[in-house]
Amino acid sequence: MLRLPPFRVVSPDTVEGVVAALQQPGARLIAGGTDILPNLKHWLDRPEVLVSINRLTALRGIVRDDNAGVLRIGAGTTLTQIAEHPDVQQLFPSLAQSAGCVASPSIRNMGTIGGNLNLDTRCRYVNQTEFWRGAIGGGCIKSEGNVCHVVPKGRNCVAAMSSDNVPVLMSLQAVIVQAGPEGTRTVPLCDYYHADGTRHTHAKPGEITTEVQVPLPTSARRTHYVKWCVRKSIDFPLVSVALRFDLDKDDVSATISAAHVVAGVLGARPRQVRKLDAILGLALNDPKVAQIVSEAAFKQCKPLANVPYETAYRRRMIRVYTRRGIEAMVNAG
């Protein structure tokens, strides 16, 4: 039995009400609760108030907005709804894949996209009971201690951004809408994260994510998401790569005009794999593409000992999974 620390729950039914409630000292937001409640059960925080978006029906739903050229996904939409939505499946297959491979069916019925984008960073030294953390000498920088067990001399927490959807939505150049005490603003998802595991987003105090806007494709493309984890369900990724290749026509033999490759589960910020110019102008089904991209991912991505499995092995798996992902894309036609 894991007891939650005592708190009050308030459930406003407007965004303004939620933003106002978050002004109270010690208030934190809860959506599906599938990330924050395990963390609170581990006593990683003791908020006085949980502000629930459970009654905020306005934040739920998926709308295709052709005028603005985006698919709008409300932050309170569940991962099941995203994975099963026909527009998502048709326009953004890699997003349907990533939303559909999070945890387990019941967790996807509860977990929201807003919670997934704001998922706390993870580390095998912090996602443990208070008793366990005490047994290794009183936690670490991210919990109640002041050392890091992953980078022993480090002053920064390098816990891993482990969301399945974040790398994909970054590769799709999604933008999020943030509502806060000073009004609303939009932030490109690629600029939302930074490399500090104790505070890994650029959310301002009291802000909530209300919407994700995914730009509708303007050219032919192929997208795919690959995730390696120990079991086929329930587990967080140990390696993850989102792939997107823009093409000059709708065929796997078409020429690549742009590439967006994003890797997760490294540090607190996903990594955009760069220096892919060598594949521009090649046909997607040219075997050189898989080779160049997987080699670039291997060179640029250096996993840390923040989640299970050896880092050297995980690094090799980045290369393997990137190559397999591209091959799967080509074989699917």
Binding site: L37, S52, I107
Partner: protein, 166 residues
Amino acid sequence: MSEAAFLLSTTVNGEPVTVAAPHHWTLLEVLRYKLDLIGSKQGCDKGDCGACTVQLDGEPVLACLTLAAHAQGREVTTVEGLGHCHGGCHPLQDAFDRWTAAQCGFCTPGILMSAEALIRKRGRAVEHTEVAEALAGNLCRCTGYTKILDAVVDASQQMHPAPGKE
């Protein structure tokens, strides 16, 4: 009632229920420790095992990660309510018995709730692969899963007999 508690009004297995619950209690704790509905099991208590699976408005969810407050005004179904419309014993429960799909039985209530939702949503007999997907969040340490999958497929066939087959 202290400030730390609130009045939870919800429907549990078809019956309206109003109960005082501490704010920081989960739905699982209310079911087990306030309402004596101990069918839903408290296993890992953090989302890893599925033993606490109940249905909220017909959708399988984990009661150990659902705040009691999130059940306000909604319909909760637990394994105790599963047989209600079937004279006490649901075809799934009957099939689990016939296939010996429960050994220690700890995972069974959660599995039944996930399986019932699958058959209801499909509205037809289901296949092994889709059962395996629907049960992917429900761990069983005893059976090796084969008999569970067989029992769910069998129950779905009992509930939705193929045309022309007796």
